[in-house]
Structure formats: C-alpha cells, structure tokens
Amino acid sequence: MGAARCIKKDALLTWLEEVGKSRLVLAPRAQGKSTAFLPFDPAKGISLSGLATSSPKQALIPRHEALLEFRYTKTDQVPAQTGLAVRELIPNQPTLVFGARPCDARGFTVLDRVYDAGAKRDVYYCARRDKTIVATVACTEPADTCFCNRVGGGPGDSAGSDILVTELDQLYVLEAVTQRGEAFLLEQKLPDATELADKAQAARAAVRAAMPEGDSLLGAPDKVGALFDEMPFWDGVAAKCLSCGACSYLCPTCYCFNITDESKGGQGVRVRTWDNCMSFQFTLEGSGHNPRATKSQRMRNRVGHKFCYYPTLHDGALSCVGCGRCIAHCPVSMDIRRIVSKALTYEKAAKEHSNV
C-alpha cells in the first residue's frame, strides 16, 4: 500500500467537516431505526458501529437520477408542430464515501465490471466513479449475518477502496490503496503513519483469523447453473419469499435499473431508478407475456445472476459480497447462504420441496 496517515478518533468529525468544504461527504448516519449513507452533517455525527442498513452503492448509482431532461416547444412553422430540446445531465460532484465496509467496497468492483466495461462505458456511473474517493473502514468483528470470507472477500480487504481505514485504539490509520486515494490522502493535513502500517495490517489479519470459517461458495456457478430446470428446488426456496425489493435495494451489488419518463406539461426528465428482479413487472412485456411470471422463476434469476450468470461473464467473480444485508433485513428471514449451500449439495429429485 501507499501513503499512510492517521487521525485521532475524536478528530474524525472535524476532519470530515473540513473535507466537506471541497467535496460531498457521504457517511453512515442513524436516522430513525435505520442507518444510511447520507450527506455528512457534523451536528448529526456518523455511525460507524456495524454495517449500515443500506449500502453505499447509492453514491455511484443513486436511487434515482435524471439521465436527460426534455422540453417540447411550440414552433411557428406548421400549425400544431412541436419542437423538442433534449439535454443530458452528467453528474459532476466530487465525493468522499467514508465508512464503507470492505464488503461494500468490493461491491463497487462488481458494479465497475458492468458499468465501466471497456467500450461500453456508462457515462453517468463513470463520471461519479472518477470523482469519488472510497474510504473503507476495516471490520473489527463479523456480524452473525456476515459471510464475506465465503464469497472471496474478507473483513479487512481493500478491493474497490481508494483508502483503507483501520482502527487502532484511539486512532484511525488511513492507508492509500489506489493512486486516486494516494493523491487525496497527500492533500490532507494529517500526520504520517507509515510506521503504523504493519500494526494496522496485523490488526486486520487478527480479525480475519478470528472470523468463523464457512464452506466456500465460490464453486456455486456450475451447480446453480445446473439446477436451472430443477423447478422443485426453486419452488421450495422461494415459497416464503414475499417478492418485495428489500434485498435488492439494500444489496451493494444489485445494479439492475428501470428507466422511465416523468413529465409535467411539455417538459420532464428521463429518470433511472433502482429496479428489482423479484418484481413481477420487471420482465412483464407489453403483450402481457412474462418470461419470469412466478416467484420461483424470479428467485432463480436472482440467485442465478449472483452465483452463476455474473460469474460466467466475469471470470468467476460472484456478484455477492457476503454483507448479509439481505438476510438481516428480509421480512421473512430468507437466507441466501442457505439457498446457495443447499444448491451446492442438492441431489436432483431427492425431495420435492426444499425448505430453507
């Protein structure tokens, strides 16, 4: 890793306030009963205990964003003919995401492969990504829903981060991971902490070592793919699912979206909003035909996408980072770990239904 700086824990808010003068700072903050990445407000503080309810993906793919705006105008040519002006709205906001967790940051790498794929660059995503510094706080303790170590990550991993922050007693050690992070860190008036880097690494390694090992899910793609036509399996795992969007919307890697036009009078915006593959409308066609009309088919796509289709396209990388939000906040306590484990050991036609 590159440059290392440190900051006293009690000086963190002051520093974030300082950073906030030149860029938007998004940090986890408790509001009501949940915690979300919100614009930093020194008066309201930040909440770094545990994992935020929602993921920081909204820093790069907001819940909604205007892609274009349009306006119809009257012309004086042919009667009743209208003109039309369209303008793209490219984001241009330097941002610091502070307090993402390693799973969240890994989630950004999942998004990068889709939105920044060589010739096919999503300008909105890339504009945000290029101007965003991700400062990730390494975890000190896995929650009961955490399984990052089973999907290729770890509680102190730096993938997807620009800066990795490690707690050491009364200090945070900030280490640059990327060039962008390095440049940002060097601009900050923070004391050097190069000599603390080893200690920080040891602290992260200790957390990693203490994390209960579980069976790896990295081998899921083949098995999940092979179960495609095994409808009883999917009927079984999807039975209790409510088909809501809580899992998708809280997930740091779910990136599917909808595009709709919203207008008033002759003007409006084309907005991109989060969408959810568990929704019936997601694939509903104009003709009324729906290729994924049942909950089981949609669950198969959701699990399939994360553990088979995405890895097929991206060198085996799963599009699940093991943050466990979908487990923790599911209204019916669906557990994706158990679904995938079940898939890994499932014997065809062994059982008509498989309760998970």
Binding site: F70, L84, R87, R121, G268, N301
Partner: protein, 280 residues
C-alpha cells in the same frame, strides 16, 4: 444536446418522422431520419439490429430497423399498438420529433449465409425483422441462392407491407407464398396455419437456412415443421423479443441466463437457443 452522441449510451439521436404508413388495424410503419445530416450519413447498421425509439414523456421501446442498410433514405420501424408507448407512437405524425438509440444488438449472419438458399417464414408483425434481411438480399441478389418467403397473418387485412407484396409475388428471383388463418372471398392465396403451409411447400434443407419470426406459438410450431423437413438446429435462425430498458446489457431484465437479448441477441440460431436456459 451532447457534442457527440454515442459516448452517452442513453442519449438518443434526435430524429424526425418523415412518413407514417398505416399497415393494418394496429400496425403502423414510421420512416424516420436523424436530424443531423452528418449523423444520418454516418449511420451504419446490419440487418437484424434494433433501435430504441423514444417518445419523450412516455419512454422508450425496442423495434427492429426493418429497412435494409442498402436503402438509407430513411430508417424504418413498424410498430404494433400494444402498450403505453406504442399507443403514443401511433398518434405521432409526419414532422414529429422522436429519439432513436440505434443500432443495438447483433444482426443476422448475412455474411455466413452467402451462397445459401434462404427460407423466410414470417408471421404477423414478425415479418418486420425478416423484411430488412430479405431486402438486403434482394439488393445483393447474386450473393445468395434461392430465396423463398412464406408470410402469414391472421386475415388478409392483418398483412403488413401489403403494398410490397405484389412486387414480391411478381419477382422472378424469389418465390413468395402468402397465407392467412382466416380467408375472405377475395383472398387469392393460401388459407392455413404457417407450419402446415410450410410443410406443404416442402423446402429442401440442402444448403439452406431458414429464418423465422412471429408470435412465440408460431415460432414453436414452425421450428417443429422445419425439423420435420430435415432442417438442423444450426440452419434455423430466429430473432427474440424481451422487455428492455437500457439496450446495452446493463439493466438486467432481458437476460436468458448469462446472455442479454439486447446485446447478445436478438438474433439466435436455434442451436444457440437450445444451449440457453429455457426462460423465454
């Protein structure tokens, strides 16, 4: 407007409707040119590729460009009135402004088909994607072997491109068979379901490729008929339709397994389709 559309995947070309042709009760054809003459000049596509048409304030939807790349006076889209967007499109008239994001997706393997006999089997609005390839082949006639077209619709009044049919029927360099499910007294062609008529026509699979598009049920039975005639999976080509939003393989709704119809399709051989999970 953006300085250089094309870098923003979501920014359509601005375009003007030059002509609206009423094909049937519920199908209209739109002939469209891009507003920027240079964009229009530089526009390249291959037969089978699709475009997203925007009616701003309503949204976007995917349609195949059914004019061939050999005739670039305009881009043609045929639209069946089904939902919100198509209903609004049907209300548009000459001179109205729309957005076009194109070309998207893959195309028919028209290079690989050179020297082969081609059997087109189209049903209803499914004739649109076949039309672009058919006209392309007619414009490059010497590159291809025998061309046979079987085009069917529910009734004579449901036949799109009716103004082109006399020419196709009269041409000596292709053979055309028309059929309807329900005939009328003045209907001079076949009456019968497409797969049955196809079997009657008995095209030879020898050095042939069959290209089919239409309603899912028609495709299903047409493929069965083609199999019965001895066509192999690799010799059968079809083009799919799914609900799409982004058109560039990101938004996640048109996937069949790890393939995105908007990007890896819409054109697939039946051999490729069989490799995909069964989720049409």
């Amino acid at each position: 407007m953006s300085e250089n559309p094309g870098t923003n995947l979501y920014l359509p070309f601005m375009a003007t409707i030059q002509e609206v042709v009423r094909e049937t009760q519920n199908i209209k054809t739109f002939r469209v040119t891009l507003n920027d003459p240079e964009q229009m000049r530089n526009f390249r596509f291959a037969p089978g590729q699709v475009g997203q048409l925007s009616v701003f304030g309503v949204g976007e939807s995917t349609f195949v460009i059914n004019s061939p790349p050999t005739r670039m006076e305009y881009l043609q889209f045929s639209v069946m009135r089904v939902g919100e967007l198509t209903t609004r499109l049907h209300k548009l008239r000459k001179g109205d402004q729309i957005g076009v994001r194109a070309p998207l997706g893959n195309s028919f393997p028209f290079e690989d088909m050179k020297g082969k006999n081609v059997v087109f089997v189209g049903g209803g609005i499914g004739m649109a994607p076949l039309r672009t390839l058919l006209l392309y082949m007619l414009d490059n006639r010497t590159d291809y072997g025998d061309i046979t077209l079987l085009y069917g619709a529910r009734s004579p009044s449901d036949m799109a491109f009716s103004y082109e049919l006399p020419d196709w029927l009269a041409r000596k360099d292709m053979s055309t068979v028309l059929t309807v499910d329900n005939g009328t007294p003045d209907w001079a062609h076949k009456v019968g379901l497409i797969p049955n008529v196809l079997k009657e026509m008995n095209p030879s699979p020898e050095n042939s490729v069959a290209v089919t598009c239409g309603p899912p049920i028609m495709i299903k039975f047409t493929i069965q008929a083609l199999h019965a005639l001895g066509f192999q999976d690799e010799q059968i080509i079809t083009t799919l339709e799914k609900r799409m939003k982004c058109g560039v393989g990101i938004c996640g709704r048109c996937n069949i397994g790890s393939k995105y119809v908007c990007q890896d399709g819409p054109v697939f051989t039946y051999a490729q389709l069989r490799e995909l999970p069964n989720e049409l």
